[in-house]
Each structure stands twice: as C-alpha cells, then as structure tokens.
C-alpha cells in the first residue's frame, strides 16, 4: 500500500475559548471548549453542521486531565497518512502515532554523546552567566535612576523599608493624596493609596509595557503619579484593601 506523508497540521486554529482540530480520520474541523472537550473526545458520534460523523480511527490516549492539552497542541508528534484504502473510502487523513524505539549505542557513541552533552552544558552555563551579569547591570542602572528621582525623605524611607511615599495634589479637588510605592517585591499591585492615618486603602496595579528591571517600573510609576494623577488612576487596576 502506497502511503503519502503530509506534515501536520493541514489547518489548525486555537484560541483561549475554543479550538479547532482536524479530526484524525475525517477532514473536518471540530470545535469544542475546555469544559466540553472530554465529552467531544469520547463521543462516538459528533455533529458538524448538519452531518454526523463517527469516530473510526484510533486516538491518542487521553485522560480528563490531559485531553485539553492534547486537543490544543503537541501536533508536531503526529504525521498524517493518506492511504489507498482511506482514499478509496473517501477519507482524507489517517493518523499514525509515532513509535519510539530504545536507542542502543556503542561505548564510542555513548562517549561522543556524553561529550556533546558536556559541551552543551558548558555553553548554556556561559550564556546564563552572561545573562545574569547583564541583568545585574540593568538592575543597578534602574536602581540608580530611581534613587536619582527620590527626594531626601523618600531616599531615607526607601533605604530603610524598601518603599517610599509620593504625595500629590489632585487637580480635580486640590486636596493632597498619598501613595506608597513598594519596591521590595514585584510590580503587581505595588502602589498603595494611603488614608489620612497612613494606612493602605487600595492597591493599584500599573506597570511598564515590555520587560524592564523592576526599579524602572517604580520610577515610571512615580513620574506619572506626580505628573498626572487622573491618568495614573485611569490606567491602573485598583483593588480595595481593608483599612
């Protein structure tokens, strides 16, 4: 039997809500969701448009826990086969699962493999060391930039407790408002609005677009807070906190 091989996938589309998959046997897109995928996977008959299709080919083993992941991806391990038999029956695709055979290697091959692995490990370690060195330099520059923006009081606070308070006048009602920017953790929700007693009443989540050192986020938060409080409040996502 002559077989013609095609690379997977012929068509595919994914999204967080639904996903399309080429059925293993029939060239049909099947749409399902994470909550319904197990039912779709195990159902012997499903409907596409006005047509019912019966699942007639073997499927990759899946469990309730793994089915959504399998449905969505890992296509690279599959190849599709258009066989004479399938073509004769009007079928489009048939999937063959890859077979994995244990590798038997000689001592010489083993030594070569181990040496290649050692070289790769060393190359990776060197790259990682360089990456960490660059990251440390970037962090240091960002920290220096932030401290350049702090006044004396903020500087003392920052050194002592890893945060500082920004007091700004709200242009809408001219009253002063206080925000504490926490610099010891990440950038998620690190801006706290304080009440008159200095307690946090809500947290704001606002950060720079793109990867940046954390201290650049803190500096940008301070700059926008002081320059345009309404804009800062509009952009940030706020969560109430127990006072």
């Amino acid at each position: 039997m002559a077989n013609t091989y095609y690379s997977w996938p012929f068509t595919s589309a994914t999204s967080t809500a639904t996903t399309n998959r080429i059925d293993y046997w029939w060239q049909q897109n099947t749409t399902t969701t994470a909550s319904n995928v197990w039912q779709t996977w195990t159902s012997p008959v499903y409907t596409t448009g006005n047509t019912n299709y019966r699942q007639t080919t073997e499927r990759r083993p899946a469990t309730r826990d793994t089915v959504w992941t399998i449905w969505n991806g890992d296509n690279a391990v599959y190849r599709t086969v258009l066989s004479d038999e399938a073509a004769a029956r009007g079928m489009q695709y048939q999937v063959t699962l890859p077979s994995f055979q244990p590798v038997v290697e000689t001592e010489e091959q083993r030594a070569e493999r181990l040496e290649a692995e050692r070289i790769r490990r060393e190359e990776y370690a060197a790259k990682e060391a360089e990456r960490l060195k660059l990251k440390a330099a970037a962090d240091a520059r960002a920290k220096e930039l932030l401290t350049m923006l702090l006044d004396e009081e903020q500087q003392v606070e920052y050194e002592r407790q890893g945060s500082f308070v920004v007091k700004v006048r709200d242009p809408r009602d001219q009253r002063f408002r206080s925000f504490r920017i926490l610099c010891t953790g990440g950038v998620a929700g690190n801006v706290r609005e304080l009440n008159e007693e200095g307690r946090a009443i809500r947290s704001g989540c606002i950060h720079l677009r793109g990867p940046q050192p954390n201290h650049d986020h803190f500096a940008a938060q301070k700059l926008l807070l002081e320059d345009d409080l309404p804009e800062f409040e509009r952009i940030a996502n706020w969560s109430r906190m127990a006072a």
């Binding site: 930039l145 006044d151 650049d216 320059d227």
Partner: protein, 74 residues
C-alpha cells in the same frame, strides 16, 4: 550637556548631547521624536529628587530627560 535616559530592558540607554553641537542635538532630537511617536512618555527632571515634568517637544537646553515606555494596567 543634555542627557536622554531611555528605559529599556537593559535598565536604560543614555544619550548625551552638547547643545552647541548641531549633530548631537539632531541625533538626540531624532531619538526623542521617534520614541515619543511610539508612545514613550518624556519627563524633564531639573534636579535630583525633583518632580518630573512631562514634555512633548525636544529642547536642546534641557539637562536631563527620562523616556519611559507606556504604562498599562496590570
């Protein structure tokens, strides 16, 4: 000397110019305009610990300008 500090993944990139050097001023102005068109926000900081003032046009007499990428809600 004027200084542009552009926040990026490397901490920041600095670009300095001499207000009396037309080529350096032109280079700094081009960088400023390119980045602000892309959505960067420019603040002039006049002294250490001072409040940044948002600016929209490049002035070669400025001493220190910080360009930040856009802020987004998290």
């Amino acid at each position: 000397m004027g200084e542009l500090r552009v926040m990026d993944g490397m901490g920041d990139t600095r670009l300095m110019w001499d207000p009396n050097n037309a080529e350096e001023v032109s280079n700094a102005r081009r960088t400023f305009n390119d980045l602000t068109k892309k959505g960067h926000i420019a603040y002039e900081v006049k002294r250490k610990g001072g409040v940044g003032e948002r600016i929209r046009t490049f002035d070669p007499e400025m001493s220190k300008v910080i360009l930040t990428p856009q802020l987004v809600g998290g």
